[in-house]
C-alpha cells in the first residue's frame, strides 16, 4: 500500500481510527460470509453466481481494510480476521442475524448497501489518504451491489402478496439493528476534528434515514423512530457465534493456512 503523508495523528486519534477501520472491516467480512452461505442454494443459478461474487468482493474489501489496520497496529491481517474471539468483533448488530430466507437476505442487503454508500462517500473525502483512496475504489464496486439489492427489493415489493409481506416483515424486523451501522464510537469527535471522518456518525445516519424511509415506507408502512445505541457494535448473538465457528474453522485446525 502507498505510504503517504497522513495528517499528524495523536495517540487518541490513532486509536479512534483503529476502532473505525475495525468496524468497517468487520461489517464487510461478516456480511461477506453470510452471503457465502447462499452459494449453491440460492433460489436460481444466476443468484448463486451473484451472491458468491458479492461475497468475494466484500471479503476482499475486508482484507484490504485488515491490512491497513495491521500496518497501524503492527499486527497481521490474517490474525485480525481469524484470530479473534467472537465477542471481539465490532460489526453492527444488523449482521448478527443468520441469513434467513431470501426476502430476509434481500432486506438486509438493501439496508446495508444504502448505509455503506453513505459511509463510503464520506470516507472517500477523508484526510487520511490511504483510507480515502481505498474507500473511493470500494465505492465503485459497491455501486453494483447497490444496483443488485435495489433490483431485488423492487422485484419482491412488486411481486405477489407473499414475497411482498416477507420482505416487509423482514425490513421491519431489521430496522432497529440497521441503525447500528452508524453507532458512535470512542474518539469519534477527534477524527471529525482532524477531517479523517468528514461528518459525525449522527449526520451520516440522518442522511441515510432520509434516503431509505422514502424508499421503504411505501412497502413497510411507517417505520418507527430509531437511532444507534451504545452497544450497537458490541452485542453478539448465538447465530453469529455459529458463523464465527465456521469461518475460523480452517485457521483453528491449520494454523499455517493463509488467505
Amino acid at each position: 500500500m502507498t505510504v503517504r503523508p497522513a495528517p499528524q495523528l495523536d495517540l487518541g486519534q490513532r486509536e479512534a481510527l483503529v476502532e473505525l477501520l475495525l468496524s468497517l472491516a468487520d461489517d464487510e467480512f461478516v456480511i461477506g460470509f453470510w452471503d457465502s452461505e447462499w452459494t449453491g442454494i440460492a433460489p436460481m443459478l444466476e443468484e448463486d453466481v451473484a451472491t458468491s461474487s458479492i461475497a468475494q468482493d466484500e471479503i476482499g474489501h475486508a482484507k484490504a481494510l485488515y491490512e491497513m489496520l495491521a500496518e497501524l497496529t503492527d499486527d497481521d491481517a490474517d490474525h485480525i480476521a481469524y484470530g479473534r474471539a467472537a465477542e471481539d468483533f465490532r460489526h453492527a448488530a444488523l449482521l448478527n442475524h443468520a441469513r434467513g430466507n431470501w426476502a430476509f437476505s434481500v432486506a438486509r442487503r438493501y439496508l446495508y448497501e444504502t448505509a455503506d454508500a453513505v459511509r463510503l462517500t464520506a470516507l472517500a473525502a477523508s484526510t487520511y489518504e490511504p483510507l480515502a483512496m481505498l474507500a473511493g475504489k470500494m465505492r465503485r464496486e459497491e455501486t453494483y451491489h447497490l444496483l443488485h439489492a435495489d433490483a431485488w427489493l423492487r422485484r419482491l415489493a412488486d411481486g405477489a402478496a407473499e414475497p411482498r409481506e416477507r420482505l416487509a416483515s423482514s425490513l421491519r424486523t431489521l430496522w432497529a439493528d440497521a441503525q447500528e451501522l452508524f453507532a458512535p464510537f470512542d474518539g469519534e469527535t477527534s477524527l471529525v476534528h482532524s477531517g479523517v471522518l468528514r461528518e459525525p456518525m449522527h449526520a451520516l445516519h440522518a442522511e441515510w434515514q432520509r434516503q431509505v424511509r422514502r424508499r421503504l415506507e411505501p412497502i413497510t408502512g411507517e417505520l418507527p423512530a430509531a437511532a444507534p445505541t451504545a452497544d450497537g457494535r458490541t452485542r453478539r448473538t448465538d447465530e453469529f457465534a455459529w458463523l464465527h465457528g465456521e469461518f475460523t474453522s480452517v485457521a483453528s485446525s491449520e494454523e499455517a493456512a493463509i488467505w
Binding site: A50, G60, E141, T143, Y144
Partner: protein, 172 residues
C-alpha cells in the same frame, strides 16, 4: 548489435517486459493493455512497479505480483523487484488501452463502456449497463443477464440477434 537510437532505458525495458505478461484471468490481454501498471521506477537498489488492482478483492493480484517479480527479475536491472499494490490512482476501466479493448473483443468479451463509472447511490446513471455491444455480431440488441459473472470483473449478457451469450468486462 545495438543500433544507435534503439537503446532502451531500463524503465522502457521493464515496460516492454510487462507488455508481454498476460492477465491471469483473461490471457488475451497484457497487464500493460489492461492498465494495471501505474508506474515503473528503476534505481541501483530496486525495480519498483506500482500495480493497480482492477477490483480490491481480485484473487489474481498475488499471481500478477509473482509473475512480475519473476519476469522483471530476469532482466537483472537491480538487486530486487518490488511490486507495490496501490489504489492511488484507483484503477478504472477507462485505463484499458484501445489495443486492449480490441483484444478483449476478439476473444469474445465486450469491452467496458467508456466514461467515468457511476458511484454512490446514483442508480439512474447505471441504466447504461443494460446494453452492451455483442463481440460476435456487433449488435446492440442485447440484454444483461447478470451484473455478476465468473470473475469479479465480468458481467453476463445475451445477444438477441446472434443468440449468443457473452461476457462484458465491467465498467468500474
Amino acid at each position: 548489435m545495438v543500433m544507435p537510437g534503439s537503446v532502451r532505458s531500463p524503465e522502457e525495458r521493464v515496460w516492454d517486459e510487462l507488455g508481454g505478461i498476460a492477465d491471469p484471468e483473461i490471457p488475451a490481454i497484457s497487464l500493460v493493455d489492461l492498465g494495471v501498471i501505474g508506474s515503473v521506477a528503476v534505481d541501483d537498489d530496486a525495480v519498483r512497479v506500482q500495480l493497480l488492482p482492477t477490483f480490491v478483492g481480485c484473487p489474481a493480484i498475488a499471481v500478477m505480483q509473482d509473475r512480475i517479480r519473476e519476469r522483471v527479475g530476469a532482466l537483472n536491472l537491480a538487486g530486487r523487484v518490488e511490486v507495490e499494490i496501490s489504489f492511488d490512482p484507483p484503477w478504472t476501466s477507462d485505463r484499458i488501452s484501445p489495443a486492449g479493448r480490441e483484444r478483449l473483443r476478439r476473444s469474445g468479451f465486450a469491452p467496458p463502456h467508456i466514461g467515468p463509472a457511476a458511484v454512490g447511490s446514483d442508480l439512474a446513471e447505471l441504466t447504461v449497463l443494460a446494453v452492451a455491444e455483442c463481440p460476435y455480431c456487433g449488435s446492440r440488441n442485447t440484454t444483461m443477464e447478470n451484473a455478476f459473472g465468473p470473475t469479479l470483473c465480468r458481467a453476463i449478457y445475451h445477444c438477441a440477434d446472434c443468440r449468443q451469450p457473452f461476457e462484458q468486462f465491467k465498467r468500474v
